[in-house]
Symmetry: C2
Subunit: 407 residues, 2 copies
Amino acid sequence: MSRLSLSDADKQARDWFAETTQSLGCKVTVDAMGNQFAVRPGTQDGNPVYAGSHLDTQPTGGRYDGILGVCAGVEMLKTLNDNWVETSFPVGVVNWTNEEGARFPKSMVSSGVWAESIPLEDAHNLKSVIPANDTATMKSELERIGYLGSTPASHKSTPMAAHFELHIEQGPILEAENRRIGVVRGVQSYKWFTVTVRGKDSHTGATQFRHRADALLTASKMILASHKIAHRHSALASSGILTLKPGSTNTVPGFVQFSLDIRSPKNETVDEVEAECKEAFKQIAAGADVDSGTAPSERQCSVEWKTDFVSPATFFHDDCIKCVQEAGNDLCGHGEVKDLDIGSWGKAMTSGAGHDSVYTSKRFPTSMIFVPCRDGVSHNPAEYSSPEACADGANVLMGAVLRYDKL
Amino acid sequence: MSRLSLSDADKQARDWFAETTQSLGCKVTVDAMGNQFAVRPGTQDGNPVYAGSHLDTQPTGGRYDGILGVCAGVEMLKTLNDNWVETSFPVGVVNWTNEEGARFPKSMVSSGVWAESIPLEDAHNLKSVIPANDTATMKSELERIGYLGSTPASHKSTPMAAHFELHIEQGPILEAENRRIGVVRGVQSYKWFTVTVRGKDSHTGATQFRHRADALLTASKMILASHKIAHRHSALASSGILTLKPGSTNTVPGFVQFSLDIRSPKNETVDEVEAECKEAFKQIAAGADVDSGTAPSERQCSVEWKTDFVSPATFFHDDCIKCVQEAGNDLCGHGEVKDLDIGSWGKAMTSGAGHDSVYTSKRFPTSMIFVPCRDGVSHNPAEYSSPEACADGANVLMGAVLRYDKL
Ligand SMILES: NC(=O)NCCC(=O)O
Ligand SMILES: NC(=O)NCCC(=O)O
């Protein structure tokens, strides 16, 4: 699946979402970030309990990441209709814009604006990084595809009773341990950076190593160093984007820019890895890194960091976690659920990936439901969850929403 | 200077070259690679002695690399005219196409076809690597700008008595030793490769190091390894191009491709560095490189090599070298030149960069003249040679051509 946020393909999916939920009796609101809120009335007025996720994907993504959560929400609306179920309060489904942060490089940016954690203007001005040389911004693309809504993008304009998000695990644990449901307690901490290395363009054949300021060799050392530092802290560091200039076989590149994504369950660990990388990169740029095999140089590179995105560790709401647990037990269960204890059908876990639930949880009670996916593979066309796993997830999602509605 | 081969800017420079040399009394021939040969008649017919170089540049190049050699050739034609000099045989100036190998990634490709070392079809089918996403080939661009000549690109159709090439040194030696002229004896050996690393796209937040096949981390290790291996052999290894897929901050890249340029004065050393890099890259891709700080992984990458260009070590012709030496002595000299001994004004040297003279020397007597350039900088807009150095070079170029004409 390749459905970059606010592309023509995304517009098609959005149109489908609006038409489908309207035909199921919902009122659909679009806000200034293109977030779509579909609401089915309850017997009383009040803030809806939402099921939410996203319909955008990575450039070479799968068919489940985000999509499962939205489709299971739509399925919930159908099931409630088919069974003439009336909820006490409204229930809704939300499609959040650009959750992936792939095209516009801030993940969960639109739930972030809605939570008032990210300024609207910063989000609107985000520039596309895919396709290459694209000059579109979020705002220009929202306008182009007709999804720059008139409702302010704010939790004040579209408040919630609670937010539940069903998602594939994107990791291998549930599959390996043969569990049907992940009861997600929170999301790990992460930060995104753009690192810029400046050296000097020079001739590959006529410039000795000692006269070079090779930005690509320097960036290569930095990427390797970030990996080692993260590994030492049992954290993660990853570079997914790298561009360079001028880009000729026989010119040593004088300019390299790369992304750096640092994650750990603990904020302090992310900060430590960041600090150690900053120190190490400074040493590497100055040629002061100690490595016996590399050639010394009289010329240095410079290094510059830009922080693109910060998502501190998130801890979900006990009431929501309990609703998921009880719904899991209803579906798969054996015996009674003691407090926050989970049966062998499920597992309490922390998400490695960020989700819009990170931002909804800043304003309203939130939690998530994971289902197993094959080999833990995600952000890859091979992503797969069985129909049974998807159905499990959809059942627990609806169960949790209905339990919260009762609460 | 940014004048990529066969661009609109290159067409302008070519038009200037044709008009100028024609106005100086030359007949201009264009061959099937767009090489331009301007010939000034002598008192007798026969193969011309050529001064030659190139007018194309790197994407962020200088104003001397190649251009000095062609302009000094044109200046030679003017000087001969102004002084009513008649040469015994014709003399000429040649502008070789795509010497840089920057846009079409084979350096000296058009002198290579002319020397019958590179098949015409391979050259015509070369695809542009700059600008990104360009689909042009050498042939389509030659046609587009009107420089697909009707003369076969072959030394048989446009033979030479000899070829002399004036060029900036592109290195720091002449400047450091305060010498006015480099008497170039030959060109070092080099090979160009494209290395492709395939791993697996995966989620940066949800994929532990041990489940990754990270093509960018792997390529980073390879670039660093090639640097160390080359350093150990007192050779050079450089990567100037790197592209990756899919290119998203939160997807571990599953595909990386980079260029590798290996050089040494000795063919055997280039071969040794190549062989050691091949072995090292295989180990790195398989995760079998021994490095205490990196995380082990259950998933491997694959690595694939493509050889793009091979230019073995070149040794120029004694007669031509002697002409340059004598012309240098005429200009700067002190006393007699003993055999291949050079006065303090000059220095015998080997070129680190490739030049079209590599290919002309395969067919006809050839040598080169270097002049100092500031800080040895080339393939950079800061490239600079003083007017005095340029004039020295032009004088020695004309002196060498006239001496060879007498020979
Ligand atoms: N679920 C998911 O893939 N979210 C994207 C944000 C992240 O990078 O974690
Ligand atoms: N002189 C020069 O820059 N030639 C380009 C070919 C090479 O890479 O050496």
